[in-house]
């Protein structure tokens, strides 16, 4: 059987789609660190006082057990700040590890809803779980 130019084009197109999908499904999730870091930069309070709307923590944070399961908050500003679930002094950090997959709700006055949710998913071990995790993360990063 002789491949025409169209056959090759179709083959390349399919390979171009299936290749990344296979990679995303089969390659274990790895991050430089297991910590998801959020920092209040110096001067945030002053910016807020001057009327800037400064959003640092999203209303929802996604973590995955075993690969990305520690929330690290740092207050680098000069004044105490309510940050996520708690109040933090200047220069203070708060490191919260998660060991159980679940949705964690925290009362948080920094958000309009009054709540912050941390979604901790099971360790993505199966190909489908990895694919799903990467797809959702890419979508969240892009939007």
């Amino acid at each position: 059987m002789k491949f025409s130019r169209w056959h090759w084009l179709a083959f390349l197109l399919i390979a171009g789609v299936l290749g990344p999908l296979a990679w995303a499904a089969l390659t274990p999730l790895q991050f430089p660190s297991r910590e998801e870091v959020f920092e209040i930069p110096k001067g945030t309070w002053a910016r807020r006082m001057s009327g800037d709307k400064v959003e640092i923590l999203p209303a929802q944070i996604r973590l995955a057990l075993g690969v990305h399961d520690v929330l690290l908050l740092r207050n680098l500003d000069d004044v105490p700040q309510v940050f996520g679930p708690t109040i933090m002094m200047p220069g203070q950090s708060f490191r919260l590890p998660f060991e159980v997959a679940s949705d964690y709700q925290f009362a948080c006055t920094a958000h309009l809803s009054g709540q912050m949710t941390i979604v901790v998913e099971p360790q993505p071990l199966s190909p489908w779980a990895r694919l799903r995790w990467r797809a959702i993360s890419l979508w969240k990063a892009a939007t």
Partner: protein, 192 residues
């Protein structure tokens, strides 16, 4: 934008994992550096003035809630009671302090009766609206009355872990098991 680029790079390139969590020993979230827990004077459910500084030398588990709470508080207090019991003799070096966010209904007598149902050693704190609001502000506690006939509140549901020196060392989110409290309290009792 920078965070997005880093996230995309991590996802696409599969950066090497260094493993994290080094130095993390407690099950609860850890504050670094630990700050001195703000002191307060409230009306204690034991009939005395409730001052946090009274418990220097003990590990204090400090929470906020209300006696009419149907969901969060009973589970948290039952968990703390189970942990306190599991600690055995060490339990005498631990004090649970529960401060109300509902002073209209939670007087000292009511808090004593409610908390005794979980563990007679638990101490409750109540006071005026202004006193309690000041304590909540010091500790970054959210509490808001929910519209409705039952007068419920949404409120911060975690527990602060305060060491023998009176420093806020950690914060245990709602939902942790009694074993996690036992683990962390044992570590705090053993630490200098």
């Amino acid at each position: 934008m920078k965070r997005t680029i880093i996230l995309l790079a991590s996802l696409l390139l599969g950066a090497p994992s260094f493993g994290a969590g080094e130095g993390a020993t407690l099950k609860a979230g850890i504050f670094e550096p630990a700050r001195v827990a703000p002191d307060f004077t409230l009306q204690g459910s034991d009939g005395s003035n409730l001052q946090l500084s009274r418990y220097r030398g003990k590990v204090v588990l400090l929470g906020f809630g209300f006696t009419s709470c149907a969901a969060v508080c009973p589970i948290t207090l039952a968990t703390l009671a189970a942990a306190h019991k599991s600690l055995g003799a060490q339990g005498s070096e631990v004090q649970v302090v529960y401060i109300t966010v509902d002073p209209q209904r939670d007087n000292a007598t009511r808090m004593k009766k409610y908390l005794s149902g979980f563990d007679p050693s638990f101490v409750g704190g109540t006071g005026t609206d202004a006193q309690l609001a000041a304590v909540r502000k010091d500790y970054g506690i959210a509490a808001e009355k929910v519209a409705g006939p039952d007068g419920a509140f949404t409120h911060s549901s975690f527990i602060y872990l305060i060491d023998r020196e009176g420093r806020i060392r950690a914060l245990m989110p709602y939902g942790h098991a009694a074993e996690d409290y036992v683990h962390d309290v044992s570590m705090l009792l053993a630490s200098p």
